[in-house]
């Protein structure tokens, strides 16, 4: 791949949360059309990396750089990052009582297109995407994540991604809390609705999502660092031995 196709470039990124160093120098290159997976245990810093890239104000980037499509992400607000084409699928999507899913999506699309929103087209695409994700039509008029089951929330995240058509989608633990049927639907939704030239980063603890989405690259994150990068086979290695074995192996090599 040439640099031309590079849509996300993260270099030696360090992130602190409440004064605590969480991400300790992560570098990551994502090309258009690629799917990467970042895997790691709870507390390894993978969610913090995702939040920092999306511009969460509590995640302070102390050094390093991040660029999307050649533009410096770190100079942008969360809003600007979204408008520039970054999407974060939340591990714990927020509830916004009184705001319907359809009104929320309309507002988000309006923010992109200015006042010109083609309602006819919006409705058509909205219906298609709901069908793809096997989401009932009644979702449209429910309040955003209010009273949603875990699985419904995750499906709604993917629906948002499908509607907003980002350049880079970082999906944070989108597979957690899903039963096997819901997992299949969500996985299929991700593959089907991520724009062709976009890049997708799946942040996950377990490899089971990767049974349905084959990533181009897998990064293993331990204690704020990417300790190993490889192809899809890395997931199987992980499944067989678990993080502890992997960690032990790496520690031995590093002579710790």
């Amino acid at each position: 791949m040439t640099n031309k196709n590079r849509i996300l470039s993260v270099n030696k990124l360090h992130v602190e949360v409440a004064g605590k160093k969480i991400v300790k120098g992560v570098s990551l290159q994502l090309n258009s059309g690629e799917i990467h997976a970042i895997m790691g245990k709870n507390g390894s810093g993978k969610s913090s990396l995702a939040n920092a890239l999306a511009g969460h104000p509590d995640y302070i980037i102390t050094s390093g750089s991040a660029a999307m499509d050649g533009k410096n992400l770190l100079e942008m607000s969360a809003t600007e990052r979204s408008l520039a084409g970054l999407f974060l699928g939340f591990q714990y999507p927020m509830t916004i009582p009184g705001v319907t899913v359809v009104n929320f999506l309309r507002a988000a699309i309006k923010a992109r297109n200015g006042n010109g929103i083609d309602m006819k087209n919006f409705r058509k695409v909205f219906k298609e995407k709901m069908k793809l994700l096997k989401i009932d039509n009644s979702f449209a008029t429910r309040y955003l994540n209010d009273g949603f089951s875990g699985g419904e929330k995750k499906r709604l995240e993917i629906l948002q991604m499908a509607m907003l058509q980002p350049k880079v989608a970082i999906l944070d633990e989108t597979d957690s809390g899903l039963d096997i049927d819901a997992l299949k639907i969500v996985a299929n939704g991700i593959v089907e609705s991520a724009p062709k030239n976009s890049g997708v980063i799946l942040v996950t603890h377990y490899q089971r999502l990767l049974d349905y989405i084959k990533p181009d690259k897998i990064h293993i994150m331990i204690d704020g660092r990417i300790v190993k990068t490889g192809g899809p086979e890395l997931a199987l290695e992980l499944e067989a031995g678990g993080y502890d074995k992997l960690e032990a192996g790496i520690s031995e090599k590093a002579g710790v």
Partner: protein, 491 residues
């Protein structure tokens, strides 16, 4: 909440959609209070009394209105009560104790006669109401409109077919002249002059307001509206409204209020009495949007007889201080009362609002939903009472108070009182205070909304249970008003 009949609702919605599409008069007001509402007209009045309150002023008002003796006597007695009654020792006592009653104009008659023809209204008043979108609203979707300017209703119109069905919709003064017996039968029966100091003041100097009577079985269908406008500085507006829905009838009344921006206080002190006889239904909707120099001290109370329903839908924006607690007395078996209110307190504002329900008869039910938003140092208080008398067995009541705080110095207080003297009663009370969470803002911003848009969306969602009860045009206007109030608010 019970809504209007579906066919009316449908018509209303389709009418509203037409207005929204073709006419932006109402929809666009609210972009800027000072410009759109806060202007004032030069005073070219037929009569403007002196400042201050005494028996001479009361006598003059009654004389100018050519009232029957009983009403004149009632006013004088009320003034004595007002003068002798101490200021309430609760609420915002600091503001209350600083009211300079001698500096207020108690009666201003802007025109000699009331008009039912828009063309006859003086140009400057017409322009004012034009700017506020009243004639358009009337043409498009209201069954009747009353427009009060200072102390008097200057314009009034009402659909012929409702008149033919025996529905009365007049300003209160005309009501007293044309239906003296009906007025005498009900006037001050729900809120006597001695109820509180401000009810006494209103009783002494009342002028204008609406008088509505709906005969048995008649469904008024589409809303009746009154619009109240204060223009002069240091004005006291004391409208008096009396609504009677006879057996099995239905009516929805909407009122809206604005005033110019002045540096010194004006006083708005209304008394509203609402009576639903057996099996009747009344909804009373208020969207007040006073300028920040208005002290809004209003007494609103309704009585629901057997199987009757009363609904207060009460939106409080603006004013410096509002103290208002719409009440329902459930005096007949199976009567129902609902109070749904929002209050928005911005910098320097205090909204002391709430609700009262008194269960007197058995098998009665009530629901209070109160939502308040305080931002940038604003103060919102919920003050409520649920009282269940000994005889009111098998009654149920639920109270829900929700406060949303924006900004560090904003404040919310809750003063709920429950007095339960009956057995077998089901009472629920829930109170919540929340802040616009950073996580919520980030979630919405990560979808491309600006911080202001995100905060506004959260606030609009918060009051959605209220907005959805409004006719669409009002809902649109309310959302715009909120947007105006939220402008530049810092989290």
């Amino acid at each position: 909440m019970t809504s209007l009949k579906p066919e009316y609702q449908k018509k209303l919605v389709s009418d509203m959609e037409k207005i929204t599409a073709t006419n932006k008069n109402i929809a666009t007001i609210g972009d800027d209070y000072a410009e759109k509402y806060g202007f004032h007209d030069p005073e070219e009045y037929f009569h403007k009394g002196a400042r201050g309150i005494n028996h001479k002023v009361v006598e003059m008002i009654s004389k100018m209105k050519n009232e029957p003796d009983w009403m004149r006597d009632f006013r004088h007695r009320a003034l004595d009560i007002f003068l002798s009654k101490p200021m309430p020792g609760w609420g915002d006592t600091k503001v209350l104790n600083n009211i300079d009653f001698d500096n207020i104009y108690y009666y201003i008659k802007p025109t000699r006669d009331q008009s039912n023809n828009w063309d006859d209204v003086p140009e400057y008043i017409k322009n004012t109401f034009d700017k506020l979108g009243i004639p358009d609203a009337e043409r498009k979707f209201l069954a009747g409109v009353s427009a009060q300017y200072e102390s008097e209703v200057v314009y009034h119109s009402f659909h012929e077919n409702l008149k033919k069905q025996g529905v009365i919709f007049l300003d209160m003064d005309s009501g007293l002249r044309e239906y003296p017996d009906l007025v005498k039968k009900y006037f001050a029966t729900v809120i006597p002059a001695a109820d509180n100091k401000f009810a006494a003041l209103n009783s002494a100097v009342w002028s204008g307001g609406s008088f509505i009577y709906v005969p048995p079985g008649v469904d008024v269908g589409i809303p009746l509206q009154a619009y109240f406008r204060i223009n002069a500085e240091n004005m006291g507006q004391f409208e008096r409204t009396l609504i009677i829905a006879d057996k099995g009838s239905r009516v929805h009344y909407i009122e809206g209020c604005t005033a110019p921006v002045y540096s010194t206080d004006s006083l708005h002190s209304a008394v509203v009495e609402v009576i639903a006889l057996d099996d009747a239904y009344i909804r009373y909707t208020t969207i007040q949007n006073w300028s920040r120099n208005i002290l809004n001290l209003v007494t609103k109370r309704a009585v629901a007889h057997k199987d009757a329903t009363i609904e207060w839908v009460d939106g409080n924006l603006g004013s410096r201080l509002t103290m208002k607690y719409p009440s329902v007395y459930l005096v007949g078996e199976h009567a129902r009362g609902e109070i749904l209110s929002i209050a928005f307190a911005g910098p320097g504002q205090h909204q002391d609002a709430g609700a009262k329900v008194i269960h007197v008869a058995p098998n009665t039910s009530s629901r209070i939903t109160s939502k308040s938003i305080s931002r940038s140092g604003g103060q919102a208080s919920y003050r409520g009472l649920v009282k269940v008398h000994r005889g009111a067995k098998n009654s149920k009541s639920s109270v829900e108070c929700d406060a949303l705080l924006i900004g560090e110095k904003s404040r919310s207080d809750t003063y709920p009182t429950m007095e339960i003297d009956a057995d077998n009663v089901k009472i629920e009370h829930e109170a919540r205070v929340s802040k616009v969470a950073e996580e919520q803002l980030f979630y919405l911003m990560s979808r491309g909304l600006s911080e202001d848009e995100a905060r506004l969306l959260i606030v609009n969602g918060f009051i959605e249970p209220f907005t959805k009860e409004l006719p669409m045009e009002y809902a649109v206007e309310l959302n715009r008003l909120i947007e105006l109030e939220m402008e530049g608010s810092v989290g």
